[in-house]
């Protein structure tokens, strides 16, 4: 897999290159918009990291030109600007993700990984969270490689929470994911499923936390 980095700051480029080479990716680096437009046609890149502040042209212009030429390469925009309008314009013009400087290296890695997977049409087939493994294709969940006995709805709750690990998922959102419109849902049905899930996850290092008034949050206990 090949990654293209378009960044004019040499010191930052060296760091980013190091990050992704250490992961076994082939990384190419250019520092101007013109070079980027040249090289992107020549190699089948899996993803591209694009800085907006380039010396010869605006990164948004590079993005626009690539999309107009119908290249579907996943692009992550990297910028020191953080105005919300910039972000919206960037995503409108066909960027797949957006990260503002300074960023956390782990975050950049995760986003680029996700971009590459999405480009391959295979979004996160298996989720690993602590000692929990969730196979999204089959729907099976394992703790320490032991299959968990889950009902269909318990699995739906777990999966909804797991893909948003560390984030609060509102009750309304969970209800919408788990129950269909014609289901006769008792007011506390969700609480019941959460309680059952917690019992079944007792042996794992996964924790489902109630955030009062907001919803539930799944996290890996320390």
């Amino acid at each position: 897999m090949r990654l293209l980095i378009v960044e004019d700051d040499a010191a930052l480029s060296r760091a980013i290159i190091k990050v992704f080479r250490s992961q076994g990716l082939a990384v190419d680096h250019v520092s101007s918009g013109r070079d980027a437009l040249e090289i992107v046609k020549m190699e089948p890149y899996s993803a591209m990291i694009l800085d907006l502040g380039l010396p010869d042209m605006d990164g948004l212009q590079v993005l626009k030109t690539i999309r107009q030429a119908h290249f579907n390469i996943p692009i992550l925009i990297l910028t020191a600007r953080d105005a919300t309008t910039d972000r919206v314009v960037g995503l409108d013009q066909g960027a797949d993700d957006y990260l503002s400087k300074p960023f956390e290296v782990a975050e950049l890695e995760a986003r680029v990984r996700a971009l590459i997977r999405r480009g391959q049409g295979n979004p996160e087939p298996t989720l690993h969270l602590g000692n929990l493994k969730l196979d999204r294709a089959s729907g099976a969940a394992y703790v320490c490689d032991q299959l968990l006995e889950l009902t269909k709805r318990e699995r739906a709750v777990l999966e909804t929470l797991a893909v948003r690990v560390g984030n609060v998922v509102s009750k309304a959102r969970l209800n919408a994911e788990v129950f269909s419109y014609d289901d006769q849902v008792a007011p506390n049905a969700l609480e019941v499923y959460i309680a059952r899930l917690r019992r079944k996850l007792e042996k794992s290092d996964i924790e489902i936390v109630t955030v009062r008034g907001l919803g539930y949050l799944l996290r890996v206990a320390k």
Binding site: D9, A11, L12, A15, I16, K18, V19, G53, A80, R81, D82, A83, T84, K101, P102, F103, E104, V105, A106, G166, N167, V168, S170, V209, V211, R212, G213, L214, G215, L217, R219
Partner: protein, 463 residues
């Protein structure tokens, strides 16, 4: 308000310069008026007195060697008046009294004929006016002198009435002018007070309007002052704008090198072959870079919050905005062992403002609550039953009442938090954003008596 007192007052000055000469003029006018009144009253009264005198002297005649005199009632009747002046008369010949009151002194000197003389005198100590005439009577070779006198009560009273009227008139004039001066000054200063209203209105706006004051309102005399003020406004605007742009530009410029440092430090942390000293140093650098990054982001936020723009108008759902922002802080609170919860009295609550601004306000308050709150403590975000009131409450050490104004100052940090990471800008940002949406921010002590409750009152959305 304009300070009255030791400050020079326009009205005072105008009154002084106007009223002093006016008083002098009125005094001179009064003096000449009094003289004139005196003359007029005397002339009129003397004419009546002389009429009465002539009526008496007309009746002088010689009958059988005797000088006779008839006193027609009309002669003395015409002297009758409201003040009941007394009338006296006498007739003398060659210095000898013939008839009448002897107390009227007899004239012995020669008098021109057919001419009436007037003089002031006294009769038993009372002032009187005397008219005298020398008249030739047939068969007598010397003139007979007739005198008629009256007390002066009536003419004094008449003169006094006229003088009083004159005095009243002058006083009225003085008062009228004083009132007119006051009103004229107020009226003349009205355009300036309009300008003041305009300036005051501007200082209450969230973004100070540096546009020049409209010169159409300004009276010609104040034009140079207002023009100078306008050019000062222009300078201030440039200075404020330069400062804002500098803060924003400088912060943006700092981000690029900071990104390089941060990324490399994170990579260094991954090297397992580093010595413990090296790890410690890298970890310290990493912490410092993170706090520097926080500071820069806060500086940019503040510069943005203070930059004038129109996006503060509009409306949004406070419940949705608050829940969304609080959700993003849940995992950080959990990591600090804190219990974050959200309570709302409404399903939806439309308020006036910009959801991004409001979200940033709530985010800063939650950041503070987590940063400075109590480990293992509680944070409650609450949409209160009062219209448009949002509360963020923690049970940490709180803010002493004496510091509740100062915590909104930039870079002010409580002594108890000096050793914690933080920029000292959070509440400044909250205040700046609140001001843009005309939301009111208040710091209180929670019902539990411990911690801090930040209350934000948003304006209700326009229906």
């Amino acid at each position: 308000m304009i300070q009255i007192g030791k400050k020079p007052s326009l009205k005072g000055r105008l009154l002084l310069t106007l009223l002093l000469p006016l008083c002098a003029i009125l005094l001179a006018l009064g003096a000449s008026g009094a003289w004139l009144v005196h003359r007029v009253v005397e002339a009129a009264s003397d004419r009546v007195l002389s009429g009465s005198l002539q009526a008496v002297s007309e009746t002088l005649a010689m009958e059988g060697g005797y000088l006779t005199l008839d006193l027609p009632p009309s002669a003395l009747g015409m002297l009758e008046n409201a003040d009941r002046d007394n009338v006296y008369y006498n007739v003398s010949y060659r210095g000898k009294l013939i008839t009448g009151y002897p107390e009227l002194s007899v004239i012995s000197h020669a008098m021109p004929l057919e001419e009436i003389e007037f003089r002031d005198s006294t009769f038993r100590g009372i002032p009187i006016r005397v008219a005298s005439e020398a008249r030739l009577v047939p068969q007598l070779n010397s003139p007979v002198i007739v005198q008629v006198a009256e007390t002066t009560k009536n003419r004094t009273a008449l003169a006094n009435r006229m003088l009083t009227a004159l005095g009243m008139g002058e006083l009225l004039l003085l008062i009228t002018i004083a009132i007119l001066v006051f009103q004229a000054v107020d009226w003349g200063l009205k355009p300036l007070s309009d300008l003041r209203t305009e300036v005051e209105a501007r200082s209450h706006q969230p973004d100070i309007n540096f546009a020049p004051l409209p010169l159409s309102l300004v009276p010609q005399e104040a034009l140079p002052f207002v023009s100078a003020f306008n050019s000062l406004l222009g300078h201030v605007e440039t200075a404020v704008e330069t400062l804002r742009r500098f803060t924003s530009d400088a912060s943006h410029q700092l981000r690029a090198p900071l990104t390089v440092v941060r990324t490399h430090v994170e990579l260094l942390q991954r090297h397992s072959d580093a010595s413990p000293e090296m790890r410690g140093a890298v970890s310290d650098i990493y912490q410092a870079v993170r706090s520097l990054q926080h500071l820069i982001i806060q500086l940019i936020s503040l510069a943005k919050a203070e930059r004038p723009s129109d996006d503060a108008t509009g409306q949004f759902d406070l419940v949705e905005c608050t829940a969304a922002t609080a959700s993003t802080y849940a995992s950080r609170a959990l990591a600090e062992n804190m219990d974050l919860s959200f309570e709302t009295a409404f399903e939806t609550l439309p308020v006036a403002g910009n959801p991004i601004f409001a979200g940033e306000m709530i985010a800063n308050l939650l950041d503070n609550a987590i940063r400075y709150g109590r480990t293992g403590g509680h944070i409650v975000v609450r949409i209160a039953p009062d219209q448009g009131v949002l509360e963020v409450e923690d049970d940490g050490p709180g803010v002493p009442v004496k510091d509740r104004e100062r915590v909104f100052e930039r870079f002010f940090r409580l002594p108890q938090n000096q050793d914690r990471e933080g920029s000292g800008l959070g509440l400044s940002i909250v205040q700046a954003l609140g001001r843009r949406m005309a939301a009111v921010i208040d710091l209180q002590t929670p019902a539990g008596g411990q911690g801090l409750k930040v209350v934000i009152r948003f304006r209700p959305a326009l229906a």
